[in-house]
Symmetry: C2
C-alpha cells in the first residue's frame, strides 16, 4: 500500500444542468480526487482555501482519513467556478472563473508528504505542478491531468511536466488538441512520445481508452439513466484509478492499470448521479463492489 499526494483545487462551484442547479457547492479537483482515492489508500491533500471555506468541508476529507495538513487557509475568498451544461452534458460552458486565493497559490508540502510513493497533479498551472513534483523525494508513480487552457497558454511548461510523468490523464478533445491527432488511438501514441509512459483518455459516458506498455485497453462507463451533473467525474476517475494503484502497489503493469481504470470509471459513475460531491461523500467500498459486479455483466463478452 502506497500513499498518495494530490495537489489541486478546493473550490465552490455554481453549476446548472438540465436536472437543476446548485450555488457555491463544494467542488474542486483535489476534493473529488481525495474522496475517491481515500476509499482505497491514504491520501495527503495539498491546496489552498479562503476564509469563507466551511470547516465542515475539510472535515469531510478528514473523516475519510485524508491528511489535510498541506491545505493552507489564507486571507481572501475560495476559488469559485460557475458553469452550465446543456443538451448531452458532454461539455460545460464556463460562466465565471474566480481564482481568488488560488491566484497567488504556492504549494508547500509538509515534511510528511515528501515521502509519498504516488503523486497526482490535478489540472492546475503546469508551473505549480512542477513545483510540487520538485518537493516529492522519490515517487514511484507520477500522474497528472491538464486542460485546453494550459495547452494554449503554457505549452512549454506543460511539456516539462509531460516528460516527468508516468501517467497522463486527459480528455479526448484535449488529447487531440495537444497532438493534432484525429482520433484518440493515434493521440495516445503521440502523447507517449512526449513523455508519459502511459496515457488514459477520459471519454465521459464512453468510458476510457488506456494506452500502456504498447497495448490499448478500453471499456465504456457504467450506464447511468440520469446524469445529474458531470462536474468532477474526471477527477473522481483519476482518484479511483490512483487509489487502486496505490492500494495494490503493482506498478504500471497492464493488468493493474486496466483494473485501476475500471475502478476509476466505477467511482466516476457515482459522482455524476448527484450535484457536487453528493454521491461521493458517503460512498462505501461495499457500494462500489456491488456496482463492480453489475459492471462485469454490462461489459461481459459472454464467452
Amino acid at each position: 500500500m502506497g500513499k498518495i499526494v494530490v495537489v489541486g483545487s478546493m473550490a465552490y462551484d455554481s453549476v446548472k444542468t438540465p436536472s437543476g442547479q446548485v450555488d457555491r457547492a463544494l467542488g474542486g479537483s483535489a476534493n473529488y480526487f481525495s474522496l475517491a482515492a481515500s476509499l482505497f489508500a491514504p491520501v495527503q491533500a495539498v491546496g489552498v482555501v479562503g476564509q469563507d471555506y466551511n470547516p465542515d468541508d475539510l472535515q469531510l476529507l478528514k473523516v475519510r482519513g485524508v491528511d489535510v495538513s498541506g491545505v493552507e487557509r489564507i486571507e481572501g475568498k475560495t476559488f469559485h467556478w460557475a458553469g452550465e451544461y446543456a443538451g448531452d452534458l458532454n461539455e460545460a460552458k464556463t460562466l465565471a472563473t474566480e481564482l481568488n486565493v488560488f491566484e497567488t497559490f504556492k504549494p508547500k508540502l509538509p515534511a510528511s508528504y515528501k515521502t509519498a510513493e504516488y503523486v497526482f497533479l490535478a489540472n492546475i498551472d503546469p508551473v505549480l505542478q512542477l513545483d510540487v513534483l520538485d518537493q516529492v523525494q522519490s515517487p514511484k508513480i507520477v500522474a497528472a491531468d491538464t486542460m485546453n487552457f494550459w495547452i494554449k497558454t503554457k505549452l512549454d511548461d506543460l511539456k516539462k511536466v509531460l516528460k516527468r510523468l508516468d501517467i497522463l490523464f486527459i480528455n479526448e478533445g484535449e488529447a487531440k488538441l495537444l497532438t493534432d491527432a484525429t482520433n484518440a488511438v493515434s493521440a495516445c501514441e503521440r502523447l507517449c512520445e512526449m513523455g508519459p509512459k502511459s496515457v488514459v483518455i477520459k471519454r465521459g459516458e464512453y468510458g476510457f481508452l488506456l494506452f500502456t506498455d504498447g497495448n490499448f485497453h478500453a471499456l465504456p462507463a457504467f450506464p447511468i439513466k440520469q446524469v445529474v451533473d458531470p462536474t468532477g467525474a474526471g477527477d473522481t476517475f483519476a482518484g479511483g484509478f490512483m487509489g487502486y494503484l496505490a492500494k495494490n502497489d503493482l506498478g504500471l503493469k497492464a493488468s493493474s492499470m486496466g483494473q485501476a481504470a475500471v475502478f476509476g470509471t466505477l467511482l466516476a459513475s457515482f459522482t455524476v448521479q448527484d450535484f457536487s460531491v453528493g454521491a461521493l461523500k458517503d460512498l462505501t467500498a461495499a457500494q462500489v463492489e456491488k456496482r463492480h459486479l453489475q459492471y462485469k455483466e454490462v461489459v461481459s463478452l459472454f464467452s
Copy 2:
C-alpha cells in the same frame, strides 16, 4: 442456422475523407450488410440497381453465397451518394443524394425469400420496410435501422415499423432525436416502449450500447489507428450482428445478443480501414477470429 433477408440500397458512393477520396465506389447498406452477414449465415438480398451497375459488383456478393435473385436491374442509373467527412470523422456531410432507380423502387421478394427466419430492413423509407415485412411469412427475428430523415419526414410510418421490430439498430444522435432523451441509456428504454424488444445504439468508435431483456450491455469499438472511411460501418455492424444471430439461432437471449454485438463491432472495425467495401470484400472468418482474440485483450477486465 437461419437465413437472412436484407432489403437496402445498392449504391455508388463518392466519398472524401482526410485519408483521400473515391469516386462512384461500391456502397449501399445492402452491400455492406450482405458482405458482413454472409461470413456467418446465408443471405438473400433485395434491392434495385441501374443499367450502369457493374456485374462484378453483383458477383462480389455471389461468391460469398449471397442470393441476389431479389435484386432488380432496371432502366436508369444506380443510386448515388456523395459525402465528405472532416475532422473526427464522426459525421458525414452529404453533398448529393441521387435516388435514381431507387425513387420508384417497389421491393418484390422471390418465393424462396419468403420463408426467411431473419429479416433486416436497412435504412430506407419506412413504407418500403413495411412492404417487405408484409411479404415474409413468419420471421423469427425482424430488425431495422433508420435515420433522422425518416424520423423527420415519415414518423407515422416509422412508428408502424417500430411496433413490428424485435431489434432496432440506431445511431446515438438519432435515438435521442426519436425519443427526446438526453442520453443513450434513457433513450433505449423509451425506444423499447415504442415497440422493439431490443435496441442497439451504434456509437461509432465508442462501440455499442445494447438494451435487451431489461439489461444494458456495452463495449467499445476495436481501436483503429487510422480510420480511412467510416461509410458503411453501421450496416456492417448490423450484418455481423444479424449474421451471428442467424448462425447460432438462439433468439433474443442476452448472451447471444451480446456476442452478436461483439461480432458486429469487429466486422465494422475492418470496414473503416478502407474506402468502399475494400476491407470487407476479401475478409475471412480467420481474420475476424484473430481480431476477436485481440479484442478480448482490449476489453479484458483482468479479473
